[in-house]
Symmetry: C2
């Protein structure tokens, strides 16, 4: 028997484009590295408020850079990410509360669906510029991910229960306790130590901490499958 897998917690919000990049990289490596990946749906708005941070896109020159950066990373990471046309309305006004409550309810009831439904929500908001706030939008993502309409409806009915609301609040608070001032964060538990890594550009450092091999954002095993 080999050494036990190390636990990685990925705190993310589907409103955050760099969360998507971090998410896909860790999903690709979860069967390559000796890790146990725990997906932790959180609310980025709560983290911004608690830390006193501001969305980078509020600074015009950062907004300009982010849009170029995402275009390049799209090719390099092979993820069909694309800025929504009306970024400020979609990302800063509409937000992701219902979507993240849906993912939180999923994590409690059907954790095996969390990866696929998260991806379909990103595909909506960060690839095809589609809504993720209306109930039918969330249901469409869930169905596309392979849930039956009854299953998805059942989850949707639970998103306003105290249990789900509290769980999302608790996960967001846990991210803050780890020191988050934005998302994604990856919390790596390695040899009794806890490392919090911010963003999608510390994955090579993560490999170093884990003693695993970094093979770029599209590891060869993945390449072969494409």
């Amino acid at each position: 028997m080999g050494p036990l897998p190390r636990t990685l917690e990925l705190f993310y919000d589907v409103l955050s484009p760099y969360s998507w990049l971090g998410f896909e990289v860790l999903c690709r490596y979860q069967n390559i590295w000796n890790i146990k990946l725990q997906l932790r749906p959180s609310l980025i708005a709560g983290i911004m408020k608690d830390s006193g941070n501001k969305p980078p896109a509020l600074l015009p020159r950062k907004a300009q850079y982010l849009s170029q950066d995402i275009k390049l990373l799209r090719q390099h990471f092979q993820i069909p990410i694309q800025f929504p046309k009306d970024f400020f309305s979609v990302i800063l006004e509409k937000g992701s509360l219902s979507a993240m409550r849906f993912l939180t309810a999923l994590s409690l009831e059907h954790p095996e669906m969390l990866e696929k439904v998260s991806r379909e929500l990103w595909m909506r908001v960060w690839s095809r510029d589609e809504d993720i706030t209306e109930p039918q939008s969330i249901l469409a993502a869930a169905e596309k991910a392979g849930m039956t309409i009854e299953q998805a409806q059942g989850i949707l009915e639970k998103i306003s229960t105290p249990k789900v609301r509290n769980q999302l609040k608790e996960t967001t608070e846990a991210a803050c306790r780890y020191g988050a001032f934005g998302l994604p964060i990856t919390v790596a538990h390695v040899d009794g130590q806890t490392h919090m890594l911010f963003g999608s550009d510390r994955m090579e450092l993560l490999a170093y901490l884990l003693g695993e091999k970094w093979m770029g954002p599209v590891p060869p095993a993945m390449n072969a499958r494409l």
Copy 2:
């Protein structure tokens, strides 16, 4: 004859820790990749002012993260970087104007010394917690880098001339025109296109744009020399 080397411009300030990381990585790869590296000393304070950005360390939770991040990157990048004890006084109050003017004068008169003197200034402020604002501190760095005291004195006498002051201003403005809101930025000129990459964590993306091989922050040829 192979293809012509692509030009990379690195805009940096020795006050910026991530500039040091980016600088060392590019210096390591300059003899591995088919590139021509141009070092462009700039003033981070001018870039912050022009873009309306604020130093990240002003947000307490970011300051806490930066200090942890630098500790991990120190090992991973094999660069002896270390936070100065009184970060706010050294980095945010004292600044780097004379040091960056000295490097600017060097870039005009002895460009072959720019790499080594830049490194010795970083070794002072970001490794050994030593001053870089007093004339004797700057002279000590220059001497350590291999300049004679006469050479170094000659450069120091020129740092307040209009030529040097204007050159630093122009380089800083050039960084702003490329969209900088902080440092380092790497400007890659590839096949008639210009890409601006912010920070020290886009080096793997840079390799991808150049069609070169990324071998981590400490490429094997470098490892062999250590």
